[in-house]
């Protein structure tokens, strides 16, 4: 086989064996897809082309689209419900990282992508899923009205992980869906502790498509050590939900800044902080700053929580105790626990 033939194979995403790297300089590389690099795969002794160096614990979505669908065959989202489903490729990437490194990063290049099949929690637990630019440039459109886009459970002991720098959008025509944006929930043994969320813009592609929930954290099934422990959210704007925008149930040691809920329907702009009603299932040690809640901020079953920001309405219960509240609200119902500081505008 000639080197030019071998490079043609590389161009189409395949693999080949090159005599020496020096020979590459003698061959026309024009056909090699822009941006791909050649690397030596030690496991097979083959030279291959890829977007990301697989020696690093970083997976580029495009490599796994190439592997699953064929180089040059897949596309980004091209219209309502059309384009290549990236969910299976994210699943493949997560499992590949798991096999080789345990945990790693799955990079989503700047583009508009379609996801119909969400990746399993087992494949993405412990990984960081990140857009390569920011939440405006890297858009994933969810074409599924009855599932969670990203679920993390910590199963198998693969705690941690995160989602950042992405626009997570519900597809047009989804109507009143039952879908979630991000769902954190494990079992009595494992939970997705040490979680990071940053720079997320979530909405829908038409005025009648609504997520069911935006971000839902439910750590109530683990009581020792309790809850989903230690995490942060920074700059997360949630639009177009119909049940809740954010829910924190048995969150422990979470630091949250600049989250907002907007343009929902029903209770969809509400933000809940609560738990199961016992100390080991309630939320504790949480700090929220720069909050904008366009619905109801609902506070129950939690202790040692500090919140500052704006909320349209506020609903509280005496089970919300040991608190620092610094809120501008437009109507308050309920009562608070006996120990706390409040300053209301």
């Amino acid at each position: 086989m000639t080197l030019s033939r071998q490079l043609a194979d590389l161009t189409s995403g395949g693999s080949t064996t090159l005599a020496t790297l020096d020979d590459v300089g003698d061959v026309n590389l024009t056909g090699l897809e822009d941006g791909k690099v050649i690397y030596r795969d030690g496991a097979t002794s083959l030279w291959k082309a890829a977007w990301a160096n697989p020696k690093d614990p970083v997976a580029d979505l495009r490599d796994f689209l190439d592997a699953r669908y064929g180089a040059g065959v897949w596309t980004g989202r091209t219209g309502v419900g059309t384009g290549t489903d990236i969910g299976p490729a994210i699943e493949d990437a997560g499992l590949a990282l798991r096999s080789r490194y345990g945990r790693g990063t799955i990079r989503i290049p700047p583009d508009q992508w379609l996801m119909t099949t969400p990746p399993s929690a087992a494949s993405i637990n412990g990984h960081m899923i990140e857009g390569t630019s920011n939440s405006i440039g890297c858009q994933i459109v969810f074409n599924n009205n009855n599932a969670a886009m990203f679920t993390f459970s910590g199963a198998g002991g693969y705690t941690a992980g995160g989602v950042r720098h992405l626009a997570l959008m519900l597809e047009a025509n989804a109507g009143s869906s039952n879908s979630y944006v991000i769902h954190l929930q494990g079992d009595a043994t494992n939970q997705p502790d040490q979680f990071l969320i940053e720079d997320i813009y979530s909405s829908s592609l038409d005025a009648t498509a609504f997520w069911y929930n935006g971000f839902l954290l439910n750590g109530q099934s683990r009581t020792s050590p309790q809850g989903i422990r230690v995490g942060s959210i920074n700059n997360y704007q949630q639009f177009r939900c119909r049940n809740m925008s954010f829910g924190f149930f048995n969150a422990v040691q979470w630091n949250i800044s600049n989250i907002g809920s907007y343009s929902g329907t029903g209770t969809g702009m509400n933000i809940y902080i609560g738990g199961g009603g016992t100390a080991s299932t309630n939320t504790t040690q949480m700090d929220i700053t720069n909050l904008v809640c366009s619905g109801e901020l609902n506070l129950t079953n939690a202790t040692n929580v500090a919140i500052s920001g704006l909320t349209n309405t506020l609903a509280t219960a005496t089970s919300f105790d040991y608190y620092w509240l610094d809120l501008n609200h437009n109507g308050w119902s309920g009562s608070l626990g006996g120990s706390g500081y409040q300053r209301f505008l």
Partner: protein
């Protein structure tokens, strides 16, 4: 008790205007994304 006062006109206006502005923002971003669709 002032902390429990009923909604004020001023605050109700603020939330109404914020809702309108955010609705416009949501529609504009959705339109920007959909503008890329291949017809």
């Amino acid at each position: 008790m002032s902390e429990r006062r009923k909604p004020t006109k001023e605050k109700t206006k603020f939330w109404k205007e914020l809702a309108e502005a955010k609705e416009k923002e949501a529609l504009a971003f959705a339109a920007k994304i959909r503008a890329k669709e291949v017809k």
